[in-house]
Assembly symmetry: C2
Homo-oligomer: 392 residues x 2
């Protein structure tokens, strides 16, 4: 009950960045008395800070000046990570989700044994924490954003292109290794929350994000919450079937996945670039040089994505769809065919409901999104009672 109000006040402060009590009272519909009580307790717990300056209204405001409240950056620290097949990116953030340190490991972990991958992640987390001048026991939570089908609630990785095994309880594995609560989440869900907090969806509580990376992921925000399947399952767009071909089902991944566009023969012309994580950058250069085979692949991929996108909009009817991921780097041929296929495929009845936004987020943003997943769980936990103790 009060927990709900507390959370609302805290979230209002986070959204505003810096806000006076009377504004909070306005936005949350709580009385100033209640806001005063709640903010007092938040200040007491060290979750927020008061600042005397910073009142941005017209300079000559009479009366008692507002006291601006903001999140206490030091109230918690979390680690977020984006784990991809050819690189890992780690960030340490403060309580606001601001990045304190970044670490990128460019290495191919494709289908190594779990132990090896876990070793690398553990190492990355520890190094990134040290880079932020912190010790691991000062970290409240870790969240790993992984491609594939992830069961957030149970911490299981159902399938992932980076794991040989399936159904791994990776959250437990990493929690034990690090000695810090570690959760797993789909990388698409992570970037979805990153856009909700910092990116192109700050103003919306309902939206859909499509990530076009090695795997094709989906994040659905509904009422400010991630829409997760039963069991907290994440979605894998690449598994969508676009039709029946001569050899059975034709899945989106086979038309628009990274390996479908660049070719996946180990001896292919992209093999070296892919190994180095520069596949798409390389492809972009070739497309600029009018490499017709590649342009054709990009166009086919764009068409497939456009159709899949239209289907998703048909099902979810969000006001905005954000497209992110390395495939956007393919440039015009890909984007134009995507847009065209989308506008052909979108049913007239919901034309105009949805706005398309393309965004080339950096890897750091993905990792930051994972940090946001961790922070949201901290925000909702009852700090006064059982949650992690704030800095005293």
């Amino acid at each position: 009950m009060r927990a709900i109000n507390r959370f609302n006040v805290l979230d209002t402060i986070r959204r505003a960045g810096s806000i006076a009590r009377i504004e909070i009272s306005d936005r949350t519909q709580l009385s100033t008395t209640t806001v005063s009580a709640i903010t007092a307790s938040l200040l007491d717990d060290g979750l927020i800070l008061a600042r005397t300056e910073g009142d941005l209204r017209e300079a000559a405001a009479r009366g008692r000046p507002r006291v601006m409240l903001e999140l206490n950056p030091d109230a918690a620290r979390v680690v977020g990570a984006k784990i991809a097949a050819n690189r890992m990116v780690f960030v340490v953030t403060d309580f606001r989700g601001e990045v304190l340190s970044t670490l990128t490991l460019a290495l191919r972990v494709d289908r190594q044994p779990i132990g090896v991958i876990a070793d690398l992640i553990e190492d990355g987390v520890r190094r990134c924490v040290v880079d932020a001048n912190l010790a691991l026991d000062e970290i409240d939570s870790v969240c790993l954003g992984l491609p594939g089908v992830i069961e957030h609630r149970t911490g299981h990785v159902r399938t992932s292109p980076i794991f040989r095994e399936s159904g791994v309880d990776f959250a437990k594995e990493m929690s034990e290794r690090l000695g810090v609560t570690t959760i797993v989440e789909s990388d698409a869900h992570a970037i979805t929350l990153a856009h909700h907090w910092f990116g192109r969806a700050r103003d919306l509580d309902d939206m859909v994000l499509v990530s076009l990376e090695q795997t094709l992921g989906l994040g659905v925000l509904h009422g400010g919450q991630l829409f997760r399947g039963a069991g907290g399952l994440s979605h894998n767009l690449g598994d969508l079937v676009l039709g029946m071909g001569p050899q059975g089902t034709v899945r989106l991944a086979s038309l628009a996945g990274e390996s479908a566009i660049l070719g996946d023969q180990p001896s292919g012309r992209f093999a070296e670039a892919i190994r180095l994580g520069r596949g798409m950058a390389h492809a972009k250069t070739l497309i600029a040089a009018e490499d017709n085979a590649l342009i054709g692949a990009a166009i086919r991929a764009g068409e497939a994505c456009g159709i899949a996108l239209a289907n998703i909009v048909t099902l979810f009817a969000p006001p905005r769809v954000i497209l992110v991921g390395s495939s956007l780097a393919l440039g015009q041929p890909f984007l134009d065919s995507l847009r065209e296929a989308y506008s052909l495929a979108i049913p007239p009845s919901i034309k105009g409901v949805t706005e398309l936004v393309f965004d080339q987020s950096t890897d750091e943003t993905w990792a930051q999104g994972a940090a946001v997943v961790a922070l949201r769980e901290l925000y909702e936990s009852p700090w006064g009672t059982t949650g992690p103790a704030p800095a005293l």
Copy 2:
């Protein structure tokens, strides 16, 4: 605040049918004290009734006997309707959703002017209410289940096969005609709630329903609530694109819609049967007689549905999918090809997550579902204050 607990208690009583206070306390995690207070107020408002008999535990139970509580059937009456292109079905139900009277009008309203359709519906509602020995002012709410894309929140019908016009504010139109609060909802959403209350999803708060009628609809139940797109938009599965053909996009409706299976030439062999609303029944007979053209159409439709179904399961990962609608009457060729295409198309990573259930619901059940939509809004409305006054 208390409204939430009140609703939970009321819903617990509804689900149980007949339940003692102590059981409510068990299931809702509320103290017996609170349950006592809330049930007292519900009794006071006439929403529930107490019965001394009916304790079904072992006969020789010691101690004070339980007093069973149940919904007061007379606390409200609503009208639910299923409006289809070739028929309208109306039901009047009591507060429990039990049907008091039914009325079926077999008439083709295909693309008549709005006024004509509204006339027919108004007439149907009035007649059905009279059949239940009631007057219209004893009806608390009316809900119309329509095919197409419906915006429940605003009451607008975006597109519907039964309307020529698009974007009609049909809820307002019918509210004014009847003098009773009238809401509109997608027929697929209605049958989804019907299954949640009375049918094959009584035990689940998360599930997906696919309706295969003239239009192909979808209902997603998420945490006991209908998942509606932004603006309360309903989904239209028929608009899903399954691929690109020679003449542009190939939509599910063009493969698996009623007219796709039976053919839609006005001079076709089914024309007369369709006009009479017996298209599918007729088709079933022909399939039994091994009509190869029709069997082929049914198989193609089944394949298309199976693929679309797999895509929906990929996106929502529900524990159960219920398939309903007239197309199920096509029988083996359709169902077998649907099942086969589904199991080919479902990605291995989520195989086993979802159970398929086929259900041949009667028209009355669809209308009852619309009544449930109306009842749910009554349940959630604050009776003590502004809601419709219960019988005193």
